[in-house]
């Protein structure tokens, strides 16, 4: 293998992970069915080509609507145009479910972040306050309060 093959993510065509694909394929078939390796490879290539096709069409749909970002709606429209309209309902359902799950996750995260919703400056200020409190506690415990340097210089 040439060094470029190892390093080069740019020149190499992105493909889908074989292990994940194999699992998905196998789960769709009866357990005793075997899939030849060349068939697996071909299925993966077909899937990549599918993404290419739908991506191109989504890009077109997006352009026609004069939008700058390819959104899920564009992909759904592309699927319909290309004859994969049957997929739309399930795809949309999965998308909606994902939105719900993501919202739940951010709500959970919200609980955690609400208690510490401060900027970095505020956080630093808070930290200084806590240090001051701790120092006060230390000073309260000692017999003679610790004088800051400036006071000492005044005394002498």
């Amino acid at each position: 293998m040439e060094p470029m093959d190892i390093v080069g993510k740019s020149k190499e065509d992105a493909s889908l992970p074989k292990a994940t694909m194999t699992k998905i394929i196998k789960e769709m078939l009866p357990p005793d069915v075997r899939v030849a390796r060349d068939a697996q490879d071909l299925l993966i290539e077909c899937c990549v080509e599918f993404i290419n096709l739908v991506s191109s069409e989504s890009n077109e749909v997006c352009s026609k609507e004069e939008k700058r970002t390819i959104a899920p709606e564009h992909v759904l429209k592309a699927l319909e145009v290309l004859g994969f309209g049957e997929y739309i309902e399930e795809v949309y359902a999965a998308y909606e479910q994902h939105k719900v799950e993501t919202t739940q996750d951010s709500l959970k995260g919200g609980k955690w972040s609400n208690g510490a919703e401060m900027t970095e400056e505020e956080a630093v200020a808070e930290q200084q306050r806590m240090f001051a409190e701790a120092r006060a506690r230390m000073n309260g415990g000692a017999i003679a309060p610790k004088q800051p340097e400036t006071d000492r210089s005044l005394e002498s």
Binding site: M21, E27, L82, F84, Y87
Partner: protein, 116 residues
């Protein structure tokens, strides 16, 4: 590179329909999308999620159609030619015809390839 299994789990959170917890990695899908053309627009964060599900459905349909061909041949192993047959037999898979044709050029089912 072989960490794809864990990677996909992390990214997709195991979202899937009828199959197991396996989902395709969103970053990889996004990469393929970007390479699909010269002038690809920006891709929203949610678009790869839609693609992931669409791909699953696509693989499912193609796999099952291929499997039907395998069964017709009374075999239990799904071969590349079965996939090719399924592609040729299905209208919406026309875009794959060239892909499977290139792959099956070594097939022995083409007597015209044998040079006299």
């Amino acid at each position: 590179m072989r960490q794809a299994g864990r990677y996909s789990g992390m990214l997709c959170g195991g979202l899937s329909g009828r199959s197991g917890p396996h989902s395709l990695p969103l970053a990889r899908i996004k990469k393929i999308m970007k390479k699909s053309g010269d002038d690809v627009k920006m891709i929203s964060g949610e678009a790869p999620i839609v693609f992931s599900k669409a791909c699953e459905l696509f693989i499912e349909e193609l796999t099952q159609r291929s499997w039907m061909v395998t069964m017709q041949g009374k075999r239990r192993t799904l071969h590349k030619d079965d996939v090719a047959s399924a592609v040729i037999a299905t209208d919406i898979f026309d875009f794959l015809v060239n892909l499977v044709d290139n792959n099956s050029s070594n097939s022995m089912d083409n007597p015209e390839d044998i040079s006299s």
